[in-house]
C-alpha cells in the first residue's frame, strides 16, 4: 500500500503536469470567486490607496505653498496610511515586486532606518531628490510611509526642504499605488490570475493561486498579532511598551488595528468572493464566524478615543482586551493555514511560505 501511495504521488517524467485537487467545475467556481475578489475587494482597495496617496500629494503641496493648514496634512496622511493598512492584506502579485510591501511601509523599524534616512536627506537637501521620479528605486527606508510620518511630524514648515521632500515622497507613493491599480486592472499578472483554473506559467493550477492568497493573508494576521498588538502591549499586563507601538507620532496605531480587522471581515464576507464560494466545494462556514468576530472587534475599537500608545501606557482593561484580540487572531491563522485547505481537500503548503 505504501508503494502504491508513492507511485501515485512521485510521478516520473519530464512532462508531468501540475495536478489540481479540483475538478473543472470546482476550479471554475473558485476562479469566479477569485475574480470577484479581485474586482470587488483588491482593485477597490488599491484604488482607495491610490486616491488617498494622490490627495496626500495635493494636500502636502498646498501646505508647502502656504495655502493649506497642517490639520489637513494630518488628515490626508491618516487616510493614505489606513488605506494601506486595509489593502496590505493582499500580498500576492505586483506588490511583491522589487522590495515588496516595504516600499509602502517599513515597520517595525527598531533600527530607525527611516528616521536616519530622513535626517540624512534633509541634511543633504539635495534638489535632485525632488525631481519627478527621482525617488523611484531609491532605498525603501527613505520612500515609505514611516519615513513620511517621520517627516511631517518633525520640523515641517512651509517653504522648507523637508516640506518639498514630503511632497516628493507622497508623489512617489501615488505613482506606486497607481501602478498597482493598473497591474490589477490589465496586465500579464492579472491575466494569469484570471486564468489560473486553466493553468499558466505563473499559476500552474488554481491550487497554487489559492495557496499564495492564503499564505499572504496568514502573514497579514501574523503581523497583526505580533507587531501591531503584541509588540507594544506585550503578552501580559506589565509588559507594555508604548514606545514600540505602530505610528506613534501620528497616533494611528489603534485605527490601524481596527482597519486590519475590518479588512479581514471584508475579504472573508465579500458576496460571491473567494471565501464565500468555498462552501460550494466543501469548505466550512468558519470564514463567516471569523469575519463577524473581526467586525465586532473593529467596531469596539472604533469608539475608543485614546491612542494605542496611551492605552499601552495605562496598561488597563483595554490593553487586556487588545491582548485577547491578539490571541483570537490565532483562530484566523488556523483556519487559513489548515482548516480551509483541509476542507477543500488541498495540501495546505504552509511550510512553503517565505523561502529558505
Amino acid at each position: 500500500m505504501k508503494h502504491a501511495i508513492a507511485a501515485l504521488l512521485l510521478t516520473t517524467g519530464s512532462a508531468s503536469a501540475a495536478q489540481s485537487v479540483f475538478d473543472a467545475n470546482q476550479a471554475q467556481l473558485l476562479q469566479d470567486g477569485l475574480i470577484e475578489t479581485a474586482d470587488m475587494f483588491i482593485l477597490p482597495g488599491y484604488q482607495a490607496f491610490a486616491a488617498t496617496a494622490v490627495a496626500m500629494e495635493e494636500t502636502t503641496t498646498s501646505y508647502c505653498d502656504g495655502t493649506e493648514n497642517f490639520e489637513a496634512v494630518e488628515t490626508a496622511f491618516a487616510d493614505v496610511f489606513l488605506a494601506w493598512q486595509y489593502i496590505s492584506i493582499i500580498q500576492i502579485g505586483p506588490i511583491n515586486d522589487a522590495e515588496g510591501p516595504m516600499r509602502v511601509q517599513l515597520w517595525p523599524d527598531p533600527k530607525g532606518f527611516a528616521r536616519r534616512a530622513i535626517r540624512s536627506a534633509v541634511s543633504a537637501a539635495d534638489p535632485a531628490l525632488l525631481e519627478d521620479g527621482a525617488l523611484e528605486g531609491h532605498s525603501v527606508a527613505l520612500v515609505n510611509l514611516t519615513a513620511l510620518e517621520e517627516l511631517i511630524y518633525g520640523d515641517f514648515a512651509p517653504g522648507t526642504y523637508a516640506c518639498d521632500l514630503a511632497v516628493a515622497l507622497s508623489a512617489n507613493q501615488a505613482t506606486l499605488a497607481e501602478g498597482l491599480v493598473a497591474d490589477w486592472t490589465t496586465s500579464d499578472f492579472r491575466a494569469a490570475f484570471d486564468t489560473a483554473a486553466e493553468g499558466n506559467a505563473t499559476y500552474p493550477t488554481i491550487d497554487a493561486l489559492i495557496r499564495e492568497l492564503l499564505a499572504g493573508t496568514v502573514v497579514y494576521t501574523d503581523r497583526l498579532r505580533k507587531f501591531k498588538l503584541q509588540r507594544g502591549l506585550g503578552l501580559t499586563a506589565g509588559e507594555s511598551r508604548p514606545e514600540r507601538t505602530e505610528a506613534r507620532k501620528s497616533g494611528l496605531g489603534l485605527q490601524s488595528i481596527a482597519v486590519s480587522f475590518t479588512a479581514l471581515r471584508d475579504l472573508y464576507e465579500l458576496p460571491l468572493g473567494f471565501f464565500d464560494v468555498t462552501p460550494d466545494v466543501g469548505g466550512s462556514m468558519e470564514y463567516f464566524v471569523l469575519g463577524e468576530t473581526a467586525a465586532s472587534i473593529s467596531g469596539s475599537l472604533s469608539i475608543e478615543r485614546r491612542s494605542l500608545a496611551e492605552i499601552a501606557e495605562e496598561d488597563g482593561v483595554v490593553a487586556a482586551d487588545l491582548r485577547n484580540y491578539a490571541e483570537l487572531t490565532l483562530f484566523h491563522e488556523d483556519y487559513l493555514k489548515i482548516g480551509l485547505p483541509a476542507s477543500l481537500g488541498m495540501t495546505a503548503g504552509f511550510t512553503s511560505a517565505d523561502g529558505d
Binding site: 512521485l10 516520473t12 508531468s16 522590495e99 515588496g100 491563522e333 495540501t347 511550510t351 529558505d356
Partner: protein, 344 residues
C-alpha cells in the same frame, strides 16, 4: 491553572522541551533517516525512520527546525532563520541533551556542520547589529561551548557543508540582509550579490570562490558535494522571479545546469552521493536527478522539499509524503515535511 497563553509562553521559554523531551522517544539503534515535520503553528518535531520507512520515534522541539548535522551519536537540529537556539540530541535515545542559545544580537540560519573528527561544530549566523554574516565555531566535548566567531564578507550565510576528505567547509553566502524585527523580508533586495565561500578550520582562512555571470539576483542557499569533486549549488530568486538557480562547480569553474524552468526560481534542497545529485523545489514540486552534472530524470512530488542521499540510498519528501528508496511514509497529522532531513 494552565491557560492557552501560559502554554504558549512556556513553549516560547523552552519549557516544552523539558516537558516533552523524551515523551515520544524510544531507544533507536537503527535510525536511517531523520526528517523535520512542522505544524501550522510553526513548531517542529523530528521524526526518526528505520531503513524500511517505519517510524522509530518522534522528538518535539519548541522551534521550527530547518537543517541538521550529525557526528557519532550526536545529532544537532538547527532552527529556521531567525531562530536563536539549536538542539543537541542523542541519536540513539532520541532525547534532547541540551539547547545552545545564540549570544545577544545574533541568530542562526538553519544549518551547521561538524568537523571530520566531530570535535568542532561550525554554525552560520547573523550579526544583527551589522546584518553581516559570521560563522560561530563551537567545540563539542565535553560540552558544547562557543569558541570563536569568524566574520564573513557579506550577509546571509545559509547552508554549510564539509568537504569529504578534510576540514574545508563550503558556505552558501546568500547575500540578503535580514533582521528579525523586520520580519523575513530582505533589506537590500535591490543591491545584493551572493557567492560561495570556503572556510578552512585549520588555518581559519575564509576565501571567496568568485562571482559568476548569471547568478545576479539569485540568493545561493543550498549545497552538496559529490564524490566526483563537483559542488552542487541551489539558489532562490527572491519574490516571484524565475531564472537559473542550479549550478555545479568543478575545478573552480561554475557551470549552469539547464532545467531552471522546472524549479520556479526556487531550490528547496540539494543532495549528492557518488556521481549523482538531486534538486527539489517546493514551488513546482520538481524532483530533478542528475548524473555527472546533467539531468537524467525529472519527477514530481507536491511540495518537494527535503532530499538526502547517502550510501546509495535516497530520501525525498514533499509536504505530505516521504519516500525512502522504495518505501513511503505519510506525514504526521497537522504537519508538513519541512525543507531538510538527514540520512545516516
Amino acid at each position: 491553572m494552565g491557560t492557552r497563553r501560559n502554554f504558549l509562553r512556556d513553549a516560547a521559554l523552552g519549557l516544552g522541551i523539558v516537558a516533552c523531551g523524551g515523551a515520544w522517544a524510544q531507544r533507536a539503534d537503527t535510525v536511517t533517516y531523520v526528517g523535520v515535520e512542522t505544524s501550522a503553528r510553526g513548531v517542529s518535531i523530528l521524526r526518526f525512520f528505520d531503513e524500511s520507512g517505519g517510524t522509530l520515534g518522534r522528538t518535539p522541539l519548541d522551534f521550527r527546525a530547518h537543517g541538521m548535522a550529525e557526528h557519532g551519536n550526536r545529532l544537532i537540529a538547527f532552527p529556521r532563520r531567525p531562530g536563536d537556539r539549536f538542539a543537541v540530541m542523542d541519536k540513539t535515545s532520541l532525547e534532547i541533551l541540551g539547547v545552545e542559545v545564540a549570544p545577544a544580537e545574533r541568530h542562526f540560519y538553519g544549518h551547521g556542520a561538524f568537523s571530520r573528527d566531530g570535535k568542532h561544530l561550525i554554525v552560520p549566523e547573523n550579526a544583527m547589529t551589522t546584518l553581516q554574516g559570521a560563522l560561530a565555531v563551537y567545540e563539542t566535548a565535553p560540552q558544547i561551548r562557543r569558541l570563536a566567531t569568524v566574520a564573513l564578507p557579506g550577509a546571509g550565510p545559509h547552508e554549510i557543508i564539509r568537504a569529504h576528505d578534510r576540514d574545508l567547509f563550503y558556505i552558501a553566502l546568500g547575500g540578503l540582509e535580514t533582521h528579525p524585527a523586520y520580519g523575513r523580508d530582505p533589506l537590500n533586495l535591490g543591491d545584493f550579490r551572493s557567492q560561495i565561500l570556503t572556510f578552512d578550520l585549520t588555518s581559519g582562512d575564509v576565501l571567496q570562490m568568485g562571482l559568476w555571470p548569471g547568478s545576479e539576483g539569485v540568493s545561493l542557499r543550498h549545497l552538496a558535494a559529490a564524490a566526483d569533486g563537483r559542488l552542487y549549488v541551489g539558489g532562490q530568486i527572491p519574490g516571484d522571479g524565475t531564472g537559473a538557480v542550479m549550478w555545479h562547480i568543478k575545478d573552480g569553474q561554475a557551470a549552469q545546469i539547464d532545467g531552471e524552468a522546472r524549479l520556479g526560481g526556487y531550490v528547496s534542497s540539494v543532495a549528492a552521493d557518488g556521481n549523482k545529485a538531486r534538486f527539489t523545489s517546493k514551488v513546482t514540486g520538481a524532483v530533478l536527478t542528475l548524473q555527472d552534472g546533467s539531468i537524467i530524470d525529472a519527477a514530481s512530488l507536491e511540495g518537494a522539499s527535503a532530499v538526502a542521499m547517502h550510501g546509495g540510498r535516497t530520501v525525498t519528501a514533499g509536504f505530505q509524503l516521504l519516500k525512502l528508496d522504495d518505501a513511503a511514509a505519510t506525514v504526521t497529522d497537522g504537519h508538513e515535511f519541512d525543507n531538510h532531513g538527514i540520512l545516516f
